[in-house]
Symmetry: D2
Subunit: 348 residues, 4 copies
């Protein structure tokens, strides 16, 4: 950590600050410039809250040198993490370290028939994991909120039928247990990226967690939220970029594709991209998905529907399964160009 | 709702769209321009999800005319809501409709002594409600997470001692009951503004809720979150602006003071401002607090500490109680200029 | 245009508003809902400033239906524009409609030797157009501001030597003539995207213009700036996305790759991407360039330098020519996958 | 400056970096931590471009300690600057250091009569400086672009008639001379905040410059643009906050009132606020103006019009003169509460 003192800091104040720093079990290296005195703080940075130092009288600025996350950091874990997700009837799919993952399915699990139908279609099109919402975070209290546990059963059955692992969103600490019972991967939505108790709870399970980036979360805050999960012993975190809020309103969110290589440079965790929620408009989903694989994402998560005009939520962004199939062909070619491969779930 | 069709929409398609709209129990008024056909949709807008219409083939754009919130809207509730908060030993404080509220206290309730000491000081300085954190949302899993139920007791006792209602943050649906037992006002933090289940739970209680604006939430989304609480029968929602994320990094967040009059124009609910979290630096808290009362806010929420350099969290932004007292004198004068008054808690 | 009246608009007011609209030579279609009266305005939308209507007493909102740009719009020009740029010694390079363009060279033209050396290297690596700054927009008045006309000569000569068209930035209406004399393409920088007089001046020339998106410009504002150039008779505008300002500070700007397909959907003009300025860090330039071609960009503009540590500006983001050559090989493969091709300048 | 090396930097590399730093005439203080080597660079920071150091192989990060601006900085100029603006017929108005300035007038100078009429009205209401546009920056090339030199004459005459200094916007280096001839204060608009040649040109005059903050400019970039003007010897720069681009679309821009105290803390220059362009809607202008004076702004710039529905531009945000007069009464009371006073132009 670097501590920069205010210009008016005199010898007595400098001495006092140094002794406060040493009192925290750290070493202080003094360096006096023409306009400022700077103290290099050596020791275990993670143990000291920069806020403590910034609150000391006479301190102008505190600049951390190390990242605030540790288990999520590539600095202490050079190898890309490969996460293996078991399929219901045997085999596994992989994500990370050259393995790309395609997750697809409806926004919401609307009824048993549609879930089975879509599962079959997206698997045929090249998806390895089935997505579907049972508990839906809706902006309006008057909107459809999901079919709950019943939907979880439909998803589990469709996953078994097609030998696909199933992912669904968890929104409430009270739902962790029931979702764990039926599904294979937890999804933490963008709005809950800093629901810290929820992160602790999924961290205590041993199922993979797809952690969506909050729409106003910096990459560093995103990795800190991953750290919450990792700190509880669950090592299987998959980061998912899904668009951030900016001044641009042409699409629902601004997909930050540069977050993919930046997160990969700073962390060993796989990073996938959700182009559907970012675009909010199916016309732009394929381009964004191709861009995602172009920048080096470890996979995509896409919403599909057989009849978008009847969808209970997010119809405008749902791809028809046949469009998704065409997209998957392009994505596989781009991935191969970059030395990567989409991981496929074994037949049932 | 206004539905704008794509330029290529021919007669057959227009007819089909009209019949779909009428099938939803709505009337369709057709208007053909040179380049576009426009359909004015008349009926109960809140019942129809714009997404349904946007998913119809041939539709280019759907423009809602009505706000998506109803109970929170000033359109159906012209009068400003005045919320009355009972004090522990009798009497009440008010907020809204010309009554301003000053909430102050430490970021975290650190120990029994400091809570009592600060409660006394901020009351003397002009605060009517005591704030203090028992469950703390922290970016890092390694940071201090609050003293939990013990802290709730210290806060309750200090509130009784000084006849001040107490506010504390609730982060988890599982904590609603215990927090309700000890304190008088729920605070929903910015990170949980769209934790919809939590909103439902506090909506089922009958204690006032301070709802902080999410750091990437539009004013409309913020009012939709208020609608979640109101929809459960709890009418006592106090909105709190606390800074949004923008490209500017000079302060921790960009305090959006224009959100105050905009929210007040669109909603009858009181709107207060938290300058402490927005600034993240005590040097700028007084100016922002004065700006808040200048734009017409219904109150402020400020963090104070007797020894910021020892604070367990957010020390850099805590005001010394004597600085807070000076600030309150200025705020009262500005409020009076604008025909408003700070509501005071009766002596114990 | 759609005009929505305030709820309190009574019959007399509605009549008055209708007559004001008709007074502007437009037709007014009235539609009364339960809560609002809506007027559909039919006529030449581009002739009426929405602000006029919004200023009328009793009007709540004015919603334009048509885009505010016309010459730049794909609505009236369905085919993608292919721009042909003549090479100094014969032949031409193309951009748009399936032809991708690679522009490369140093940030600033530092001296004659380096310009010639880099021109040769980037051409060998696959670039068709040479970039180089003669007038540099620098945040600080104390930074190197470019070598001016002398640098223009170096660039012209290096372009001739390698049969490459040359692009350089114009920052001042007073420089348009001299830059036109020496170079082949004008670049309007992000900071000047709304320097409207400058847009008019380059619009009066007949040389292609690369128009960078302002760091806070919406896609619609960007196309309006293109309209400024087009309105003067210059049809050869190439749009260039180069990153926008958001809350994320990991890289210098947030590259908005979704702007590429959105701009292409709304306009017939080619859209290229500058990953160098967006990243500000060479480590991330190749990934962003691959993402750009993945989302369907019509080309890239990249900064190269033989010795970045000695660069007079933007050294941290400059690619070594050999790295650029490797990147071009990947980009050509991705483009081919998507049915596109990089346009090559003929040998000299 | 602080230079942080990459973890892999070995002794040879460290030695090499140190010698490169010393080669630039600076001293290097080495400090080795557990994970990183840090070099404190001592010397004239302003002379060394951080980019040079960042481009050196083995360097991870470069953290400047000093601000990049010097003449604009409060560090070397502790006293608030008071700018005195001469009135046409004698006397002067002041801004800065406790003197607040009210600038008012129409968006555009539409015709001679309206300019004279509004000048008289805004002066009576309490404004000291007359604003009016002669060259208008418009998003659309098809919109009214201002009456040019003729409008300048109207403004000059109305200024003389009412003994008010006149401010108008300059958009083009070629217009500096003519605007200087007729008016008293240059306005640099938000879109031209980084039109560096224009900044140099007004810097060479000896008339005050109101420098609006760009809608995506950080406070630091804003002060760097002030530095451009100051560096040419013109010391009379007045900063003007007018709203930034954020995700919030309720108003035209998000007025960043926290920029006022932050800019004042970092610079000795006066800081005023333009609530009209930020709001884009007259309903919210008074609240924002009150907030501006509340946070401590040194003045406001407000648009007025006698008949907003007929205004040639920005009608929706124009205040009626009588509303402006009522607002001025409130602002004077708030200013007095904070120990400040509005500076008044002497009668003619």
């Amino acid at each position: 950590m670097i501590v920069i003192l205010k210009p008016e800091a005199n010898d007595a104040l400098v001495k006092d600050i140094v002794s406060q720093i040493e009192g925290l079990g750290l070493q202080a290296h003094l360096s006096r410039g023409q306009f400022r005195t700077v103290i290099g703080v050596v020791g275990e940075e993670v143990k000291v809250d920069p806020e403590h130092l910034k609150s000391i009288n006479g301190v102008e600025q505190v600049l951390p040198i190390m990242k605030p996350y540790k288990l999520a950091s590539r600095e202490f874990h050079k190898e890309a993490t490969v996460i293996e997700i078991p399929c219901p009837n045997g085999g596994m799919v992989k994500v990370g370290g050259g393995h790309c993952l395609a997750i697809a399915g409806p926004c919401a699990a609307e009824d048993e028939g549609m879930v089975h139908q879509l599962a079959k279609e997206v698997k045929a099109a090249g998806a390895s994991v089935l997505r579907g919402g049972a508990y839906k975070p809706r902006t309006s209290p008057y909107s459809f909120q999901g079919h709950g546990e019943e939907a979880l059963k439909w998803l589990r059955d469709a996953g078994r039928e097609n030998n696909m692992p199933v992912i669904t969103e968890v929104m409430d600490t009270r739902h962790v247990a029931v979702i764990e019972r039926y599904t294979d991967i937890f999804q933490i939505g963008a709005r809950n990226m800093q629901n810290f108790n929820l992160l602790f709870e999924v961290g205590k399970t041993r199922k993979p967690v797809v952690l969506k980036r909050g729409m106003a979360a910096s990459i560093s805050e995103w990795l800190m939220s991953a750290e919450y999960v990792l700190s509880q012993g669950n090592r299987d975190v998959i980061l998912c970029e899904r668009g951030i809020k900016t001044f641009e309103t042409a699409l629902r969110y601004t997909l930050d594709l540069s977050a993919v290589p930046v997160a990969q440079a700073n962390s060993h965790l796989p990073v996938i991209v959700d182009p559907s929620h970012a675009a909010g408009d199916r016309q732009f989903v394929p381009a964004l998905a191709r861009g995602a694989i172009g920048v080096g994402a470890d996979g995509i998560m896409v919403e599909c529907h057989d009849n978008p005009a009847k969808a209970m939520c997010d119809g405008p962004q749902a791809l028809l399964p046949e469009v998704f199939a065409g997209l998957m062909r392009e994505l596989k070619m781009i991935a191969r160009t970059l030395g990567r491969n989409f991981s496929e779930a074994p037949a049932r």
